[in-house]
Symmetry: C2
Subunit: 142 residues, 2 copies
DNA sequence: TCTTGACCTCAAGTTGACTTTAAGTAGTAG
DNA sequence: CTACTACTTAAAGTCAACTTGAGGTCAAGA
């Protein structure tokens, strides 16, 4: 596959694919003249990368998790650490989601005065402040 | 409270507090000479902001949700939209977490060959690629 | 009163993840 | 064989969210 095919099928722009290759996140299997050629499994790899991004990992972390080379000979302890991190994030997001849902429905004059909202947010915020600011999430918004 | 007290209690650096005030995310209640003074409830507001960050909202979005002014007169539909977004993210993260946990335990030669891993990742990745790249999360790492 | 240190402002710098641009190359249709 | 187009590289630009630095101010303790 050439780069534009990969771009079309994956939804990842060609410029990003080159950038990823530069960073060692993906590899092309050869060239036809100057043009990169990619193997079919690149799509799977890109899906995993996208997934890692959604999960809050930086490209560097992803390349650690996935392994730069072919066989992802992964540090199992690190995986568990990541899983635990993720779990904490999930808890917060869940409380946040419930808080938002409730806020949308709640009739209290101000959300900050609604005890339910406060409880949910308190739950979510516990440790959101102070202590290493675990993970933040950022909308890609392009 | 002066800025350094707020910084100490919240864990948010003074520079960030000034930045947030600049952006209108928080407000100081006055000055003593040049020095900002903050009300006690600033801590709660900061917790909410931190929470919003964890949940994947940009500072601008947070200021929308929280309302720039005093009474968070919130757009309920927007809240529901955000809640739904969040829910999708949570699903992915959950699959991702399970995938990571499994990968740490799995004995398959390569995770990419383990059917369980592939199923989990497939679940998580569905829509991770192609279609608007919802939210990503990023470690703060400072 | 004088000094000190914590605050102030404003501008510029940093980081991660890309995107854009300029200038060049090469496979393919005519 | 020429022209066209899609690719190539390298470097610079962008964006959000901050941080850092230079130069200035001022409340409080010796």
């Amino acid at each position: 596959m050439d780069i534009s095919t990969v771009a079309k099928r994956s939804g990842v722009p060609a410029s990003t694919l080159r950038y990823y290759e530069d960073k060692g996140l993906i590899q092309s299997v050869g060239r036809k003249g100057l043009q990169r050629l990619f193997a079919a499994n690149i799509l799977e790899r890109l899906a995993l990368i996208a997934l890692g991004r959604v999960a809050g990992f930086s490209l560097d972390e992803i390349s650690n998790i996935l392994g730069a080379g072919e066989n992802p000979d992964i540090d199992r302890e690190m995986l568990l650490t990541k899983a635990t991190e993720l779990d904490r994030t999930i808890q917060k997001l869940t409380a946040m989601r419930d808080g938002l849902q409730h806020a949308a429905a709640c009739t209290a004059p101000s959300h900050l005065e609604c005890p339910r909202f406060r409880r949910l947010m308190g739950l979510a915020a516990s440790g959101a402040i102070k202590g290493q600011p675990s993970n933040i999430a950022k909308p890609i918004s392009r």
